[in-house]
Symmetry: C2
Subunit: 406 residues, 2 copies
């Protein structure tokens, strides 16, 4: 059987399996949509009635307090979106113009944009196929080949620029191999700033994602596990960094009874109270949502395990993924079935997508420094994200007495 | 009578007048608070029920359409706040790193921050005491003294930098003397980008503020005449600029069925649908709000006209101010009564504030280029903003058959 035929057979088999799951003519199955099954309406109306819908109000404070608790950090600073959160996280970690920020190329473009907004240069490192996040061995090897350390400052000897931060991203909710990354980071005296945009509620062993590095950033965009409409937050255990992030997010205005004194160029990044009210209601449902999403992942693992040539991505040992987006990985031999499967699924109203085009292949980041990126390029060529809304659990899996196993 | 005594008398007289207006022990009178007297709750709940609360949804589109109509422009692009709107407006007008942006020093810090976020340098010019906005004569005089024009590019011969834009701001809702500014701008081939953050609904003769320059920016922060919680918009009649602003506000993602291709470093600045739902309900009440605020201004003008030494600021002839914030101006001879009056008012629960500390006196903007700024310094020393919420109209002025005069 030719490769072309084998691919065609795989596409048909995948199509059949999806039809058995979603019915033969689904209206439309979203990649990820939010659920509003808690107190969302109640808190929104209460917020409106309070008169405080903007940058001041009790919901912002309550949301921050509850978020910090859930994420196992002392401080959370709520802002307008995940990109802003990461930009502030990098800012308070002293990432500035003409420094370099090590990050995966296998990530959403916001990771690099946040660095660029500060004038810093993204510098791409390869990922680990086991968790799709930064690979500690690749990172160490690359740093060994390019870094001159001088008085605790890691200099890229090729560019002459300071390497100011390492930014791992927990892809699709799967925690990176943090302890081993941390060992490399410490060896080279570079702080870790966590891009936890996709991984709210995920845990690396017992520790929540977002709490692992010096500072972390999460996102509450509409496609995330919980949403505030648009929103994000900076997470940290260091009071001085939290204060700095909050100060920068509120136009760097100094406290004064009436004077407008601002002490640095800063941002209008504070999350509005209205969005925080929605967020607080959503946060109350986070653990439920994670249970549903983990059950959905198990269902996908079961449903597709008998098809040769594809694998549903599974969390690594010892971690808890929030399974933000489920990923179907094609074997290398059938990688060119990716686009036919994407076409077939999208044509059937089942929204699916490839991983982000690797950042080092985008026009504005093509010239950025980078390590070899074989895993990034390979994985991108054969990965498909499939519908992952938490609400699919109830639609696809009849409740049984075994529900507790999830 | 000594100056000190005369001041003390003025403070007491102002205090008496405010007590007669607000009662002797008001709980607390805000400087400016929003009203939610329209369909706010209805549209928020409808938005929630639609499932679309984030960057996609019909409310964003409807809000933009309605806003464009109200502002008399072809295109409106809704974003997360006024600072982001101004940053995008400057960006699409080709303001970039190391160019200079002419602006008042008498403005909120966001005007300068928006330029700095693009790497541009604020360059301060004085204001006109008749409208508190950029003074066309001061602008012309300054440009004549510093500009070398080369092939349609205005170069600051002192700094060698390109002067990329003129950014008038309509202070407290009062339109600038636009036609005369425009004449200067055309003479020197510099585009005008309007900071209309405070002036939604104000009109320069028949033209709405925000529609006057090449691009305009408005704000819907919680303290503005209408609010989206946090929000802003870019306004323009030029399709290419509107498309560019929208593209930049949505991570510069190119349309594709599933691929993530972004063609430049961009932003996550799109206004969430939830905030747009609130904004649409608010926009429906804008004309009502303007009537109430103009009536309140007339009330203040009447109430304080008999006190020597103070003047309530009044719109210039031929324009319609939205009277976002009412301003009480002290005569120069009694300027040092400003702080005692601020103390007295705030101690009484009547929130009042001085104008923003002029930007050229803030640490991060102290070294920026500037013209002479005598009016800015003078006006700052003797201006007090007083409570200006639209809802005060109904509280302070009994409805009469004459209501239509407002």
């Amino acid at each position: 059987m030719s490769l072309a035929n084998s691919n065609q057979e795989l596409v048909l088999e995948v199509a059949d399996r999806f039809r058995s799951v979603f019915g033969s003519t689904p209206d439309s199955v979203a990649l990820h949509e939010p659920d509003f099954d808690g107190r969302e309406a109640e808190l929104l109306i209460d917020c409106l009635n309070s008169g405080y819908v903007s940058s001041v109000g009790r919901y912002v404070t309550e949301f921050e307090t509850e978020l910090a608790r859930v994420c196992g950090v002392k401080y959370a600073v709520a802002v307008v979106n995940g990109t802003a959160a990461l930009e502030l996280a990098l800012h308070v970690a002293n990432v500035g113009a003409d420094s370099e920020v090590l990050m995966p190329s296998f990530t959403f473009v916001a990771t690099a944009n946040a660095a660029r907004h500060l004038g810093a240069i993204p510098h791409f490192v390869d990922i680990d196929p086991d968790n799709m996040g930064l690979n500690p061995d690749a990172l160490r090897g690359h740093l060994e080949s390019i870094v001159d350390s001088k008085r605790g400052v890691a200099l890229n000897r090729r560019s002459g620029r300071r390497i100011a931060a390492i930014v791992p991203m927990h892809t699709f909710g799967h925690p990176v191999d943090f302890d081993r990354l941390q060992a490399v980071a410490e060896e080279f005296d570079i702080p870790i700033i966590e891009d936890a945009a996709e991984s709210l509620g995920s845990k690396y062993f017992e520790k929540p994602c977002g709490s692992l590095g010096m500072v972390g950033a999460v996102s509450f965009n509409g496609n995330k596990i919980i949403t505030t409409g648009g929103g994000g937050a900076v997470l940290t255990n260091q009071e001085s960094l939290a204060q700095k992030a909050k100060h920068l997010s509120t136009t760097a205005k100094l406290p004064h009874r009436w004077e407008f004194i601002h002490d640095q160029v800063a941002y209008n990044y504070r999350m509005p109270n209205l969005n925080a009210a929605l967020g607080l209601a959503q946060l109350e449902r986070l653990e439920h949502r994670i249970r549903e999403k983990r059950a959905l992942a198990t269902f996908y693992l079961d449903t597709f395990k008998s098809i040769d040539g594809i694998t549903i991505f599974k969390e690594a040992k010892g971690v808890r993924s929030n399974y933000w987006l489920n990923a179907m990985i094609l074997d290398q031999e059938v990688a060119n079935a990716r686009d036919p499967i994407l076409t077939m699924l999208n044509d059937s109203g089942i929204l699916a997508r490839p991983s982000w085009k690797p950042l080092h292949t985008l026009a504005m980041y093509r010239e950025c420094p980078r390590a070899e990126l074989p895993v990034t390029n390979d994985l991108h060529s054969r990965l498909i994200n499939i519908p992952s809304s938490a609400s699919l659990r109830a639609k696809l899996i009849p409740r049984t007495e075994n529900d507790r196993r999830y």
